[in-house]
Amino acid sequence: MSEITLVEAVNQALAYEMQADDNVVLLGEDIAKNGGVFRSTVGLLERFGPQRVLDTPLAESMIAGVSIGMAMQGLKPVAEFQFMGFMYAGMEHIISHASRIRNRTRGRLTCPLVFRTPYGAGIHAPEHHSESTEALFAHIPGLRVVIPSSPVRAYGLLLAAIRDPDPVIFLEPTRIYRLVKQTVPDNGQALPLDKCFVLREGSDITLVTWGNMVYETLKAAGQLAEQNIQAEVIDVATIKPLDMQTILASVEKTGRCVIIHEAARTCGVGAEIAAQLAERCLLCLMAPVKRVTGYDTIVPYAKMEKHYLPTAEKIIKAVEDVLSYEG
């Protein structure tokens, strides 16, 4: 079995589930003939035909709203927003409808859909192509927000997201779309939603992260290991609802925690995790929880974006600060 990238794993999961379930339909801008601007839907039009792979007109509120209508009829739309920065026009449908339809109708109507979108900075793209505003969705009751950060997890989590009977926002980190390759058996095995993945065990400190930052964090953990600091690395993966249990268990063990995300710090998802740690685990914390995040600025244009993003270096610095904390 050959190794594939994250974006190929997305494609493989889509193909698997379209084959397995006639209700799965794809829609979005440039996803059919063009196979998606990142090629994540390449070949699917040819394989499943124009009734299953739909190029839409250019309108994001429409993509969101039409998907919801389809979902209420029992289809399982997987809609692509071309970039996360163009999803905001769909916010009203996501916040006011997708997340509420089951609750509003007391279970009569449901909304089993997936909104996929490339997200995150680091690919030298134009403005609005570097958003990581996952916190906006993580605040909304009724949604799931899932972020894969490896080919294996992209495959397993996307299958789980499509099969989930509720709406899932599925954020695909563009910077790792083609960064790593893994063997991903095409066996239709989903991975669990609502669960963190412990990517590396360690006893000295817990590093909590997701998305693009997983690789910087693993890199930092590797370098820390050379200094004999054993970092546990947790990929949160589902940021809504949060699996605090796994995070708490780890921090209870290590007593120290650094949270890493690329989004702006203020009111990012890191704040919620830090707040819960401080609330539920105050006594086990040997040092304050630190956050290594993007600045509270607009993501700079390409030339400066690398200075905006957290790096392994900054993570290591924070870990050292936390480890040397003297109460």
Partner: protein, 352 residues
């Protein structure tokens, strides 16, 4: 100059405000039973509306938007649809909802602030009332897309107000319906007002029907106070959609003879003379006049109908008033198909 495209907006009316026929009636309208049925629905709706306002005034209901004066549109919709079509209402479409199995008790529960009012025991697929205006247009387009992708001969009817036509969602739905040739009928209840903003301040378009031109399909105006015209236009549009020949838009011209909702005071912005005139045009009177003139209806039947309506409504009110309070845990129990673990702590707080 070369002309590359031409468009026309037709206007349709059979029954004028005096109940006189000004054009040969369509086939269905020659059957007095059908007309009487439409008439009864309109009267029932108006009576229900009055009762609901009364409940609100006496503290037994929340804010309520009446459909006074606009009953013909929704009555025709309910009559024109097949049961397995899907209805995507605006919030003044009680007449259609009632015909489609939504109960008065459910409608009242909804406006009392109870989600169970959207549970529609006898109607599995219609949308509940949507508050964010025009958003239902896109969901309707999605439902119509599902019908089309599955080759089902089903049709979606979606209603919005004149105000709602200014929203991008309305247009995006129109545009998609056109280019995907969806089995959908857009009905605009043009009641001349969006709360205090008159139709003329919403758009410079001479008709709202012409907004369909932007989507590349036909729009027409009908007299929304002539239930025969609305029904006729709908029958055609639905047949066209069902045959796979694409969407239509019907602008039904009527007048909001009531405050926007019970929380509004239209006197602040209304011209009373216009309203008085609008009352001359209202839909029930003209159909009654026609029926009576043609001996399909009389005062005795009218009196009976009132009694029947009142009985039915009283029963519904009793049912509504007797609805046991919902469980507080319902707040959590319909959020997801199964509640994620992290919610359990919060849920326990409201358990009793």
């Amino acid at each position: 100059m070369t002309i590359v495209a031409k468009f026309e907006i037709p206007y349709l009316r059979f029954l004028d405000s005096e109940g006189k026929i000004n054009k040969p009636l369509p086939h269905f309208a020659k059957n007095s039973r059908d007309l009487i049925s439409l008439y009864r629905t309109m009267v029932l709706t108006r009576t229900f509306d009055a009762k609901a306002i009364n409940l609100q005034r006496t503290g037994k209901l929340g804010t309520y938007p009446s459909s006074l004066g606009q009953e013909a549109i929704s009555t025709a919709i309910g009559a024109a649809m097949q049961p397995n079509d899907v209805f995507c209402p605006a919030y003044r479409e009680y007449a259609a909802q009632l015909q489609r199995g939504v109960t008065m008790a459910e409608i009242l529960a909804y406006w009392s602030g109870d989600e169970r009012g959207n549970q529609f025991a006898a109607n599995p697929e219609d949308l509940p009332i949507y508050v964010p205006l025009a958003t239902q247009c896109l969901h309707a387009a999605g439902i119509a897309s599902a019908f089309k992708l599955r080759n089902q001969p089903r049709v979606v009817i979606v209603v919005c107000g004149d105000g709602a036509t200014s929203r991008g969602d309305f247009y995006e739905a129109i545009n998609l319906a056109g280019v995907w040739q969806l089995p959908i009928v857009f009905v605009v209840n043009n009641n001349q007002w969006a709360i205090s903003v008159p139709r003329t301040a919403q758009t410079n378009a001479a008709t709202l029907a012409q907004k369909a031109i932007a989507g590349g399909f036909a729009g027409e105006q009908v007299d929304g106070n002539d239930v025969i015209a609305v029904k006729y236009a709908l029958d055609n549009a639905i047949a066209k959609a069902r045959a796979g020949s694409g969407p239509s838009l019907i602008e039904a011209i009527t007048y909001r003879l009531c405050d926007h909702t019970t929380a509004d005071d239209a006197k602040r912005y209304w011209d009373p003379q216009t309203v008085e005139q609008a009352w001359q045009e209202e839909p029930i009177k003209r159909l009654r006049q026609y029926l009576i003139k043609n001996k399909h209806w009389d005062e005795t039947q009218e009196a009976h109908l009132q009694v029947e309506c009142n009985q039915q409504i009283e029963q519904a009110v009793t049912e509504y008033m007797n609805l046991p309070p919902a469980k507080l845990t319902d707040m959590f129990d319909y959020l997801y198909a199964s509640l994620p673990a992290i919610y359990l702590e919060q849920r326990r707080e409201v358990e009793i």
